[in-house]
C-alpha cells in the first residue's frame, strides 16, 4: 500500500514539474507589436453586408474603406476612397476617385469596384441584411475610370453618413469570383489592415497594410499585428487581460470595470456611446384605453424619475441626461426643448389633475439593463404608479409591440452609430410599427427634414418636431449609455460615441 502511494506521489510530482517548466513565458505584447483583443460575439461572416453586428463594423473598417470618412473628432465628412464629391442635384452625388490604390490582393481600385459594390448591395435580390443602409440608392454609374455617380431614389440627406462607414467598397473581380460566402471567410479590401488568418468563431488575425495610401484621412496604421479572439465569458476576458493574454476588452459590466480600475497596468475607460434610453408611452391608444393618452400623465411620469441619479449612480462614467428624443451629437438633435426636472410633488399633482390621485397600475415592458428599469419602477411607485416589470427577449418584446400589447416600455436605441437624427426619430415618430404617439404634425416635420438636403430646412423641421415631442411628453428621454473599455496602459486608445473601436488610430505608448 505504502509503495503504491509513493508511486502515485512521484507521478503527480512529475506531472506538476512538466507543467510548470513547459509554461511559455508571457511576452509583453508591446514588445512583439501585437494587440490582442477579444469580444463575446461569434461573427457569422466577415462580409459586412451579411452581418448586423457592431463587431462586423469594427472588422469592416479595419479591412475596407468607404468612399467617405467621418472624422470622429469634428464629425465632418472627408473624402476617403473618393478624392472629392459633390451634389449634382438633390438625388445625384458625384465622386472623383483616388488613383493608385490597390486592394490587399493586388487588384487595382477604380470606378468599376465602386459601381459593382454599390449596384450589388442595392439590388434587393442580393438580400443584404441591413436594407436600410442601401434602400435609398437607385444605382451607381461609371462616368470614367475614376469618376462615378450615385443616383438616389429620392432626396436623402443622410446619404453622406451612410457612405462614410456603412458602405465599404469591395474588389469587384474578387467578389464576383468568391461571392459573399468566400468573401465572408477571406475578405479583401483597401483598408489599413489586411486579414492574415481566420479561424471561424475563434480568432481573426490582422496584419498592418504597409501599402496603405499615404494621404488617407484615417491616418496610417501603427500597430503591426492585431489578434481578435472570441471569448464568450466576460470573467474569462478579465482574467486574460490581467495575465497579459489580452490587451483590450470592451462592454465590461460596470462592477467588473470598477474592480479592474484598481489593477495596475490596466486602464478603464467608461466612454459615452450613442445609445440612449427612453420610456415610450402609448399616447395614441394603440393598446386600447390607457392613462397615457392624457398629456398630464405623461408629463407626470417625466417629472417622477430622477434621471440624474440613475445616470450618475447606476450607469456611471460619462453618462449624461438627455432631454430630447435623440443623441446630442446627431445632426438635427437640439436639446433646447421643454425639460422636466425631477419633481415628484409636481408629478403627483399632475396625476391628480388627470384623474389619478391614487395613481394606477400598468404593465411595464423592458428587454435590457434590468437594474435601471427597477430604479424607474421605484420612482414611479413613489408617485403612486404601480409599474409591473415584464422582462422579455428583444424579439419577443417586438412581437408584442407589433401586436399593440405594450402600453409602457423601457427601450434603448443606438441609431447604428449613425450621426443623423433620421435614424432614431424616423423609427419612432413617423407612423411606423414603433410609433406610439402617432402625431401627424410631428410626422410631417420629420418627413420634411428627412427628405431635404438643405441643412437649414432640416434643422428647422427637426427642431419643431423635437419641441413638440417634448411639449407633449410622448417619451421620457432618459440618459446616454456608456461602454466600458479596459485595456493595457501601454496602449494609446481613444473611444468614440458609436462604440466602434478604431484600432487603426491606436498605437503603443
Amino acid at each position: 500500500m505504502v509503495e503504491i502511494t509513493k508511486k502515485i506521489a512521484a507521478l503527480v510530482t512529475l506531472v506538476l514539474c512538466l507543467v510548470v517548466f513547459s509554461g511559455t513565458p508571457i511576452l509583453a505584447n508591446k514588445a512583439n507589436d501585437t494587440l490582442n483583443f477579444a469580444w463575446k460575439k461569434e461573427l457569422e461572416t466577415l462580409d459586412r453586408y451579411f452581418n448586423t453586428a457592431r463587431e462586423g463594423m469594427i472588422v469592416s473598417r479595419l479591412i475596407c474603406d468607404d468612399l467617405l470618412y467621418r472624422n470622429p473628432d469634428t464629425n465632418e465628412y472627408q473624402p476617403l476612397l473618393a478624392k472629392s464629391y459633390r451634389w449634382i442635384d438633390t438625388t445625384t452625388l458625384e465622386f472623383e476617385l483616388r488613383q493608385g490604390i490597390t486592394f490587399h490582393n493586388g487588384e487595382k481600385f477604380d470606378a468599376d469596384d465602386v459601381v459593382y459594390t454599390i449596384n450589388f448591395v442595392s439590388n434587393p435580390d442580393n438580400k443584404i441584411l441591413v436594407q436600410r443602409n442601401v434602400n435609398w440608392i437607385q444605382k451607381a454609374e461609371k462616368l470614367g475610370p475614376y469618376k462615378v455617380r450615385i443616383l438616389l431614389k429620392k432626396p436623402f440627406p443622410a446619404a453622406l453618413e451612410y457612405l462614410a462607414g456603412n458602405l465599404p467598397i469591395y474588389p469587384n473581380e474578387y467578389y464576383a469570383k468568391v461571392g459573399p460566402e468566400g468573401f465572408g471567410r477571406q475578405p479583401v479590401g483597401t483598408g489599413p489592415y489586411r486579414v492574415a488568418e481566420v479561424d471561424p468563431g475563434k480568432k481573426i488575425v490582422f496584419v498592418k497594410n504597409d501599402n496603405y495610401f499615404k494621404d488617407s484621412p484615417k491616418g496610417q496604421p501603427s500597430i503591426g499585428k492585431l489578434v481578435q479572439r472570441t471569448i464568450p465569458e466576460m470573467t474569462t476576458q478579465v482574467a486574460e487581460l490581467m495575465t497579459g493574454g489580452l490587451d483590450w476588452i470592451y462592454m465590461v459590466p460596470t462592477d467588473q470595470a470598477d474592480k479592474l480600475s484598481r489593477v495596475p497596468n490596466v486602464k478603464v475607460l467608461k466612454a459615452e456611446t450613442m445609445r440612449i434610453g427612453f420610456l415610450q408611452m402609448d399616447a395614441a391608444g394603440r393598446c386600447g384605453d390607457s392613462p397615457f393618452s392624457k398629456r398630464a400623465v405623461r408629463q407626470a411620469i417625466n417629472y417622477a424619475i430622477d434621471r440624474e441619479a440613475i445616470a450618475k449612480n447606476l450607469v456611471g462614467g460619462q453618462s449624461r441626461v438627455i432631454n430630447s428624443a435623440c443623441y446630442p451629437s446627431q445632426f438635427g438633435c437640439t436639446q433646447e426643448v421643454t425639460t422636466y426636472p425631477y419633481n415628484p410633488a409636481k408629478a403627483k399633482k399632475l396625476l391628480a389633475e388627470a384623474g389619478y390621485p391614487q395613481g394606477f397600475s400598468v404593465d411595464f415592458y423592458g428587454y435590457r439593463n434590468r437594474p435601471y428599469a427597477e430604479a424607474i419602477v421605484g420612482y414611479l411607485k413613489a408617485v403612486g404608479i404601480k409599474a409591473k416589470l415584464k422582462y422579455l427577449k428583444y424579439s419577443a418584446l417586438r412581437e408584442k409591440t407589433f401586436a399593440n400589447k405594450t402600453p409602457f416600455m423601457f427601450l434603448t436605441w443606438g441609431s447604428y452609430g449613425i450621426n443623423d437624427i433620421s435614424n432614431i426619430t424616423g423609427y419612432f415618430f413617423r407612423f411606423g410599427k414603433q410609433d406610439f404617439s402617432r402625431d401627424a404634425q410631428v410626422r410631417d416635420w420629420l418627413e420634411l427634414g428627412d427628405n431635404s438636403i438643405d441643412r437649414q430646412v432640416r434643422l428647422d423641421a427637426y427642431t419643431k418636431a423635437l419641441k413638440k415631442i417634448a411639449d407633449e411628453a410622448y417619451w421620457v428621454p432618459l440618459f446616454t449609455w456608456v461602454a466600458n473599455y479596459a485595456y493595457s496602459n501601454e496602449l494609446d486608445f481613444t473611444a468614440q460615441p458609436d462604440a466602434v473601436p478604431r484600432f487603426f488610430l491606436s498605437k503603443w505608448k
Binding site: M1, I4, E42, T45, K202, E233, T236, S395, A396, K433
Partner: protein, 305 residues
C-alpha cells in the same frame, strides 16, 4: 440476450424520436421564430418574408415531418445564421467537445477510482473522510464557479496554464479538471461501496487465506468485480459531460458543441438547435443502450428482469 437487446434498441429509438419531437415543439412555442430570425428592427414585411422562406407558415406537424425526413437522409439543413450546412459546423465542433469530454472522463476516473479504493480499504478513517469531502465538494460546487476559481488560481495567480482557448493541450487542462471533477463523486462512491461489498465476500477471504499478496487481492480479485457498476455509469456520465460542457466551454472559450448549443438558442438558429438536440439525445441514448447491454452481458440477472 438478443430479445433483450432488440427491446432496448426499440426503446432507445422511441426516446430519440420523442426528444426530437419535443425539442422541435419547444423552440416554436417559445415565440414566433420569424421575429428572431429576421433580426433586430426588421419590418413586418421582412418578417413575413422570413416566415415564408423558412416554411414557418406551414402547420407545425408538416414542418416536423419535413425536417425529420430530411434528417433521416442526413440533411440537417442550413443554418440561417452561419449560412452554412449545419452538419459541417456540428462535425467540427463535436470533435472539440468529444476531446474535452473524453479527457474529463479520464481525469474523473483517475481521481475517483484510487480514492474509492482507498476509502474502501480504510473505511471510517480520515482517509475515508477526506475522500468523502472531495466527492461532496465536487457535487456541490457549480462547475461554472469552479471553472472560474481554477482560472483565478492556476491562470491568474500561478500562471501555470493559459486562461482560455483551445489551441494546445495546455489549454485543455483546466476545463478538463472543471468538467471532470463534477463526475468524480458518482464514480468514487460506486467504487467505494462496490469495493466494500467485494472485500467482505468469501472469495476474498479465501484469497487472503491462500496467502496472496494484499495488492494482488485488491487489484486482481476485488477491483475487477467492484468496478462493474462503474463501467455502466461511465457511459451515462459521458453523456452528461457532453451535454454539461456548455458552461465549461463558455467559461474557457473552448469553441465546442456545448457553446454552439447555447449560442444557437440565443440567436434562434432553429435548424442548429434541433440538430444539436437530436445529436445529443442520440449520443445519450446510444451510451445508455451500450451501458444496458454491457450490464446485461456482465450480469445475467438483468436480462431476465
Amino acid at each position: 440476450m438478443l430479445h433483450y437487446t432488440c427491446k432496448r434498441i426499440a426503446l432507445a429509438l422511441l426516446v430519440a424520436i420523442t426528444v426530437s419531437f419535443l425539442s422541435f415543439m419547444l423552440v416554436r412555442v417559445s415565440g414566433d421564430p420569424a421575429y428572431a430570425l429576421a433580426g433586430e428592427n426588421a419590418t413586418a414585411k421582412e418578417i413575413a418574408f422570413v416566415r415564408e422562406k423558412y416554411g414557418l407558415d406551414r402547420p407545425i406537424m408538416v414542418q416536423y415531418l419535413d425536417w425529420a425526413l430530411k434528417a433521416l437522409h442526413g440533411d440537417l439543413g442550413q443554418s440561417p445564421y452561419f449560412r452554412e450546412n449545419v452538419s459541417a459546423i456540428i462535425g467540427h465542433r463535436l470533435k472539440v467537445t468529444m476531446t474535452l469530454g473524453a479527457s474529463a472522463l479520464l481525469f474523473a476516473l483517475t481521481l475517483s477510482i484510487p480514492l474509492g479504493v482507498l476509502a474502501a480499504i480504510r473505511p471510517n478513517t480520515w482517509i475515508d473522510r477526506v475522500a468523502l469531502g472531495i466527492s461532496v465538494l465536487g457535487q456541490a460546487m457549480p462547475s461554472f464557479w469552479f471553472g472560474l476559481i481554477l482560472i483565478l488560481f492556476f491562470g491568474v495567480t500561478l500562471r501555470w496554464f493559459p486562461v482560455s482557448g483551445s489551441s494546445s493541450w495546455r489549454h485543455f487542462v483546466l476545463p478538463t479538471i472543471a468538467l471532470g471533477y463534477y463526475a468524480t463523486p458518482a464514480f468514487m462512491r460506486l467504487t467505494r461501496s462496490g469495493m466494500m461489498d467485494v472485500l467482505s465476500s468469501d472469495y476474498i477471504r479465501t484469497a487472503r487465506a491462500k496467502g496472496l499478496l494484499s495488492g494482488s487481492v485488491l487489484f486482481k480479485h476485488a477491483l475487477r468485480n467492484a468496478i462493474i457498476p462503474v463501467v455502466s455509469v461511465v457511459a451515462v456520465q459521458l453523456g452528461f459531460m457532453l451535454g454539461g460542457s456548455v458552461v465549461i466551454e463558455s467559461v474557457f472559450a473552448v469553441n465546442g458543441f456545448g457553446l454552439l448549443a447555447y449560442e444557437s438558442i440565443a440567436r434562434a438558429d432553429l435548424p442548429m438547435v434541433q440538430a444539436i438536440v437530436l445529436i445529443l439525445s442520440l449520443i445519450y441514448v446510444l451510451l445508455t443502450l451500450f451501458a444496458d447491454v454491457l450490464n446485461a452481458l456482465l450480469d445475467p440477472r438483468i436480462r431476465v428482469a
